[in-house]
């Protein structure tokens, strides 16, 4: 859902962006049976401190913003995954074995400042 953003505070707030990974582009379609690819999300955007009250953010984001205020050499809070989901892959190896495997925490479902 769209997050209400205070006007003029941030042009590019932290949120997730979609990117479709096609295994054919990697040449992996030769051994991955399914899926053909997956819709991945990545986190991108700014996390100015005023935004952390509106965006899903960790206490760590508050500390990071505070440190940045004290010493600008310290990086700002960044846009990070806060909820991840798994990927299942059905593939075949060189021994003609069909394998079903689950990889946890692979796709970003939600983002926040951290």
């Amino acid at each position: 859902a769209a997050i209400p953003v205070p006007k003029g505070s941030c042009r590019n707030p932290c949120h997730r962006h979609q990117l479709f990974i096609n295994f054919r582009d990697l040449g992996w379609h030769k051994w991955i049976i399914a899926p053909k690819g997956f819709m991945a999300n990545y986190c991108h955007g700014d996390c100015p401190f005023s935004m952390t009250t509106y965006l899903n953010s960790s206490n760590y984001a508050f500390m990071q913003a505070l440190m940045h205020a004290v010493d600008p050499k310290v990086p700002k809070a960044v846009c990070i995954p806060t909820k991840l989901s798994p990927i299942s892959m059905l593939y075949q190896d060189n021994d003609e074995t069909v394998i079903l495997r689950h990889y946890e925490d692979m796709v970003v479902d939600e983002c926040g400042c951290g």
Partner: protein
Amino acid sequence: SKFQEYDFLQFLDLEKAPSPRRFQPVPRILRKIFQAREAAAAGGVSQDFCYVKELGVRGNLLRLLPDQGFFLNTQNPSRDGSCLQKYLYFNLSAIKEKGTLTMARLTLDLGPRSYYNLGPEVEVALSVAEGPGVWGRSLPKPGRRLALQSVPGPQGPLHFNLQDVVKDWNGNRLKNLGLYLEILAKGDRHSGVNFQVENTCDRLLRSLRASLLVVTLNPDHCPSSSRKRR
């Protein structure tokens, strides 16, 4: 050119990118589990990836090993009703990941189901194979009996859970598994059903396929069930 494939594959616990000569048919059970998990992930339903509810065992990696064995006889049924004998061979060294084996399920596909073509009852005897000897010079022989099952009208898949194989593999990581399969036809040779027996044996010889489904549980990805994830 910037794609460091090797590093990505290492992260996925793969030594290198496989390059299979041809795609194997995906067994129904793996397809079913895969689709169920995809649907759950798409629906945001939380899942325990270390439990395969479709099979009722713990595990996070399912592997279907093809049979690399050979038939020991391809003659017509013998007088004692022996229909076929086959040496089933599975290369377990393909299981490279660490962890424990939680299931080894042998599937014998006795051919497509047909409403009209029910054959006579057969008896399926499965044993651990002894031999073959050095360089395969001597033929394998039946050893310890694992299962004996009567099958009326042999069609479709038969499943055998091989608990002994699971124990043996977890004890000393077997490199391979050799099984001795014998199918006996139970037709009455004096009542004119011999023709049916021969037909059934002939059909089984042509259509019999075997595969071994193994489930492994990696402790790094699956902590013990007593430690619930917070």
